[in-house]
């Protein structure tokens, strides 16, 4: 059965299935959320107004049997944080279940009567609109628990209090196999977009769904095998390798060693407490405390990398899953905090209230620089989250993220691009990632073009992180490959093995070709990714973005970053070269 689009109208409380039109037939995941957003969302609309939509799409291979680590769900629309197009994707249970229902995408549009909130129960029989009054004001731990009592073993997508308040740092939670929140489409305020549609939660029931059509089963199996082997062979992604044993926070020490770990609101590149908040420290903690604590946790069924963790308290009870690299950095090094227990508690607050941990940690760091509290004040930092949960005036400022908080506290060192704050890699010390931050249509985002692979991790060759040479081309290639991978439904971490092992790259493309019947080989990955990027860049242009929006923040040109004492030195011309091709053959 061909994929369908499920369109849910919150004004009329009606849902309808539509055939996937020819113009969208090629796309899935990010490619599809961006295509639909470009076609149906006015780039000049208010992100929280009636004309924005929330588009949800699993990837090409998501929901197919045993495609490894392929459970991603893309969430798209216009971002309240950046004002541009947004695709934010998450693991957890939702992607596979949406795909197994035979859905290419779910489009949520319209606005219910004032004060009305709904839980959308999506099954093979259609959509049930349940009054969500009893869930209002509740955090995601309780929402997940309540909904599983009624609908056990389902995927739950939801927003915490931050999304209800339509704060720009509100994310969308997806439950994990233990029915805990924490798999977040965190970036860009998509939780506020869901809130603006009056949707508190969605329950996805895949029972009896038609499943995912596979056009060429042999080709799919061949691709799947090559990709699986490459993941199992690579030193980083194999069982007991770096990611499985230490999680993504295995990066803390290497970025610190490279002088590229942003510290105390991007004022230094090394943190003296780095080792204490690293993946190695988390593994020691889990080993020592036991109980529910574990490394090597999988965020969705069928993951063979398993880079997640469950951080326990001193009694072995789970505090939060997952404390990622970004999370331990944002709430740790960037705030001058070296206490893992506090970082885990703050992670739980973010997962419950529904906040992106990157933006949240950066916001606390800005508040520290602005004098609300001192760098290193872990107790004070933890308390700020209660302000957001309660929606106090201070909490509403903090919940808007870095830029609003910097204005409220008179801070000029504001590490944002396109109004979105930077992740855990210092652009002055790792130049390629700075090109990605500056030019990606998503606002400062490391996942959009992860040049850290060759610049720091020694994956797909080795490049000097401090050098400007070739970084514009490098970033574009990574951005394009990423736009493709984000459309497949595969976790972006398959990039590490497939960049180093040729059969993995081929296998990824073959598995997509096998599912879709499209003639896609490894050579098509970057060109197809560029088509997605072009759509997104053109949306942003129509939304009013210009070359001036593709710039790093001013302070990075003026302040030298220790320990290498380096400034941002890539020229604006180099930045503008990254996407110059978008207008090839057209008037600029």
């Amino acid at each position: 059965m061909a994929r369908k689009i499920l369109r849910i109208n919150m004004s009329t409380l009606k849902a309808a299935y539509e055939d996937v039109p020819e113009k969208w037939a090629r796309w899935a995941g990010r490619g599809l959320t961006s295509a639909i957003t470009c076609d149906e969302v006015d780039p000049l609309c208010h992100p929280l107004g009636p004309n924005n939509k929330l588009v949800i799409a699993p990837g090409w291979v998501t929901g197919t049997p045993a495609a490894p680590s392929s459970g991603r769900t893309s969430f798209g629309g216009k971002s309240p944080l950046t004002g541009g197009i947004k695709e934010s994707n998450a693991g957890g249970l939702s992607g596979q279940m949406i795909a197994k229902l035979g859905l290419g995408a779910i489009i949520i549009e319209g606005t219910p009567a004032k004060g009305k909130w709904y839980t959308l129960v999506v099954s093979k029989d259609g959509v049930k609109f349940e009054d969500a009054a009893d869930l209002l004001g509740k955090g995601m731990y309780e929402v997940d628990e309540v909904l599983w009592k009624k609908y056990p073993k389902t995927a739950v997508i939801g927003i915490g209090q931050a999304g209800e308040m339509k704060l720009s740092n509100a994310g969308i939670s997806v439950n994990d196999p233990e029915n805990k929140p924490g798999r977040y489409a965190g970036r860009g305020g998509m939780g506020a977009v869901m809130g603006a549609r009056g949707v508190k939660a969605m329950v996805i029931i895949d029972t009896g769904g038609p499943g995912v059509d596979i056009v060429d089963k042999e080709l799919f199996k061949q691709g799947r095998r090559k990709l699986t082997e490459s993941i199992q062979e690579h030193g980083l992604t194999k069982k007991a390798g770096g990611l499985n044993a230490f999680g993504t926070a295995v990066l803390v020490n290497i970025l610190n060693e490279a002088g590229g770990l942003p510290t105390r609101n991007f004022s230094a590149g090394q943190f003296e407490g780095a080792a204490k908040i690293s993946g190695e420290a988390m593994a020691e903690l889990c080993e020592k405390r036991g109980g529910e604590g574990m490394m090597g946790h999988g965020c969705h069924p069928g993951c063979i990398i398993k880079c997640s963790n469950i951080i326990p308290d001193e009694n072995g009870n789970a505090v939060a899953s997952c404390v990622e690299y970004e999370t331990t950095w944002a709430l740790g090094a960037n705030c001058g905090i070296d206490e893992l227990d506090y970082i885990a508690k703050m992670t739980r607050e973010c997962n419950d209230i529904g906040l992106d941990t990157i933006e949240a940690g950066n916001t606390v760091a800005i508040a520290m620089e602005g004098g609300l509290l001192k760098f290193g004040d872990a107790e004070g930092a933890l308390a700020t989250f209660d302000e957001i949960r309660k929606g106090t005036p201070l909490g509403r400022i903090l919940g808007q993220g870095v830029e609003a908080t910097a204005k409220a506290f008179g801070v000029s060192r504001v590490p944002v691009v396109k109004h979105q704050s930077m992740p855990a890699y210092e652009p002055r010390a790792v130049k390629g990632i700075g090109v990605t931050y500056a030019t990606t249509p998503m606002g400062a985002d490391h996942t959009a073009g992860y040049t850290i692979a060759p610049e720091i991790a020694g994956v797909s060759g080795k490049l000097d992180p401090l050098s400007n040479e070739g970084k514009a081309e490098l970033s574009l290639t990574f951005q394009a490959a990423t736009a493709f991978i984000d459309s497949t439904g595969y976790c972006l971490f398959i990039a590490f093995p497939i960049l180093d092992i040729a059969k993995g790259w081929e296998g990824m493309a073959e598995s997509v070709a096998g599912v879709t019947g499209q003639n896609i080989t490894g050579a098509d990955v970057v060109p197809i990714g560029k088509e997605v990027l072009k759509m997104e860049r053109l949306f942003n242009e129509r939304a009013g973005f210009t070359a001036e929006d593709d710039r790093p923040p001013e302070f990075m040109l003026n302040e030298a970053l220790p320990p290498h004492n380096v400034k941002w030195t890539i020229t604006n011309e180099q930045l503008d070269s990254v996407f110059a091709w978008v207008h090839d053959g057209h008037a600029a």
């Binding site: 770096g242 230490f246 020490n253």
Partner: protein, 79 residues
Amino acid sequence: MRVTVKLFATLVRFKDGTRAGKPFEVDLPDASIVRDLIDHLKIPPEETHVVFVNNIIVENDSKLKDGDVVGMFPPVGGG
């Protein structure tokens, strides 16, 4: 010469009693290179993936000098 060494992630198993990032000192003959240090520590060469000397990523044939601080990593990554 004497250099300071820090091992990370899965490499800590090659030095008894150490933890990730805990520095220890190693004496080497003058004119030693990074590969000599790796051999000295009895780490299989394929296990060290990225090596820093004084916060700069170097190749295994880079020369070491007295007082250098060396950080060694297996394959690491994430996001």
